[in-house]
């Protein structure tokens, strides 16, 4: 058994930020990630980030990832890679499978779950053909592994993931045949859709995929218009030539460990479904378990990093490394910045949903 003061599960933007704050306060930290490299999704994000200058706006995600890794190395944060956390017991003991061949128990005084999210799929006849994949998978292929998944891509979903990956597929040399959106209005930031539009890509609102054709892989895709209640309108079908379909149809928080730990949940559809209840310190209903990032609601890397900092600072406070006053001052400052990130046309709904979670967290 390995003993640590703070175990952090997930080395994406939230987990890295949490570990940096806690380690700066001199907490003994163990950061665990199932991947071969830390950084989570940051190393796939080759675009310049939005946000305020305080949130590293204008810097490409990949460079933010590099910066976080450099800081965590400087601080000597202990990282286990290829470490899958498969269980959690008594709110303190993590069962970790390392390198897929041996079990280890980590006993931690405090735990931060920063496990992230997984892509949603939608089904249609032909969805099991090679060539149909998550938009995130396509993004991993082009930006991490430098492999072009196909030449002619249809993107299903116009949220930021869909339009950003559509743009990056073109940067990688593919043609994007169409971006489809089931809703009557496009989902992603207008500056992203405008970038894709002026590259000549048509957007189809109120449309979805009826089926994909092909013998050994996708060769064509039938699309169809949807009415106001999302029912297919017969007679509006069109066939588009394509060899790849990317699904950008939302994300679901990876909450298994929080369920296992007995955290109480609430259901918040706007943030991705069932989410652990938490307070303004990112504390769950379990006494020694915190959460940060997409597990606490699907948002963006900028908010994930701030939530990670909240969890790291407050875990350090509870472990006695930061005074209550200092933790409070820093927590309030981070909330100011989170509230500014969660404002405007896109952010307000997320802020309202977060307020609801915090209300539940107070009870």
């Amino acid at each position: 058994m390995i003993v640590t003061e703070l175990a952090i599960v997930g080395a994406g933007p939230a987990g890295l930020s949490a570990s940096i704050e806690a380690r700066r306060a001199r907490v003994d930290v163990l950061l665990i990630d199932e991947n071969a490299r830390p950084g989570g999704q940051l190393f796939k994000q080759i675009h310049k980030f939005f946000g305020s200058r305080a949130h590293k706006a204008g810097i490409r995600g990949i460079n933010i990832g590099t910066e976080l890794l450099r800081e965590s190395e400087e601080l000597g944060i202990h990282i286990w890679l290829k470490g899958e956390v498969c269980g959690i017991e008594n709110g303190h003991n993590l069962w970790v499978v390392r390198d897929r061949n041996r079990s280890e128990i980590v006993k931690a005084k405090k735990i931060i779950l920063a496990t992230g999210a997984t892509e949603n799929a939608v089904t249609f006849p032909g969805w099991d053909l090679p060539g149909v994949m998550g938009a995130g998978a396509a993004q991993t292929m082009i930006n991490v592994n430098r492999v072009l998944p196909g030449r002619k891509v249809i993107m299903l979903g116009s949220g930021n993931v869909g339009v950003i990956v559509a743009y990056q597929l073109m940067q990688a040399g593919a043609e994007v045949v169409a971006v489809l959106e089931a809703a009557p209005v496009l989902g992603g930031y207008g500056v992203h859709t405008a970038k894709v539009s002026r590259a000549g890509v048509p957007f189809y609102v109120s449309h979805t995929i009826k089926r994909a054709f092909g013998t050994n892989h996708v060769e064509a895709v039938e699309i169809v218009e949807l009415d106001n209640s999302f029912k297919q309108i017969l007679g509006t079908e069109q066939i588009l030539d394509a060899d790849t379909v990317c699904l950008a149809t939302g994300l679901t928080p990876l909450t298994e460990l929080a369920w296992l730990a007995g955290c109480k949940f609430n259901f918040v559809p706007a943030l991705g479904g069932h989410l652990p209840i938490h307070d303004d310190k990112m504390h769950t209903t379990q006494p020694d378990i915190f959460i940060a990032g997409d597990i606490s609601g699907i948002e963006e890397a900028s908010t994930a990093m701030e939530e990670g900092r909240l969890a790291g600072i407050n875990a350090a406070q509870e472990l006695g490394y930061i005074s209550e006053d200092e933790a409070k001052i820093r927590t309030d400052a981070i909330w100011d910045s989170l509230n500014s990130l969660r404002s405007g046309y896109f952010g307000q709904k997320r802020r309202d949903s977060k307020d609801l979670i915090l209300q539940n967290g107070k009870r």
Binding site: V191, H192, T193, A194, G200, G347
Partner: protein, 167 residues
């Protein structure tokens, strides 16, 4: 389908004219200016600090739309690569008797070279006219967002905003 940012993906001229950073026709024709096509409240403000003349204002709330003071803008171009949304470009109607100038952000390879003839496109990617590349700037400080400058016939001044990708 009515053309608008949230249905066809790119802003209509009507939507742009309503936003606080888009120039009036008079301002647009006066000389070289930066044009910001940012009409949606997103949490983003790097353009504000990028301007050495203080011509761009976002203010306290980072979801405010940028406002442009065209009295102060000198079309230096610092904002073009600072904008993560690639939503800023520079146009000069007064560049020549028959030619106008356009500098825009571009993140595709291969990059064009000075002297190349490229295809200028509108906001939906439609071909507008042929254009000659005058300059390609891609220093390290731009962080891989190149700025391409093209000259093109004045009659297409308003429509052209970018160029077709080179395949």
């Amino acid at each position: 389908m009515e053309h608008s940012l949230k249905t066809t993906g790119s802003p209509s001229l009507e939507e742009l004219y309503k936003s606080p950073a888009f120039p009036t026709k008079e301002q647009l024709h006066k000389g070289p200016i930066a044009i910001i096509e940012c009409i949606e409240e997103i949490p983003c403000n790097p353009c504000e600090a990028s301007c050495p003349k203080g011509a761009i204002t976002i203010g306290e709330s980072i979801t405010n739309l940028p406002e442009m003071d065209y009295e102060k803008c000198t079309a230096c171009g610092m904002c073009i690569t600072a904008c993560p949304g690639l939503a800023i470009y520079i146009k000069d109607y007064t560049y020549g008797d028959t030619k106008a100038l356009l500098s825009f952000p571009y993140e595709y390879y291969p990059l064009p070279k000075a002297g190349d003839i490229v295809q200028a496109v509108d906001r939906q990617g439609n071909y507008v006219c042929d254009a000659e590349v005058i300059k390609v700037r891609n220093p390290k400080s731009y962080d891989h967002t190149a700025v391409i400058t093209i000259e093109y016939p004045k009659e297409y001044f308003e429509e052209a905003v970018n160029m077709k990708r080179i395949k």
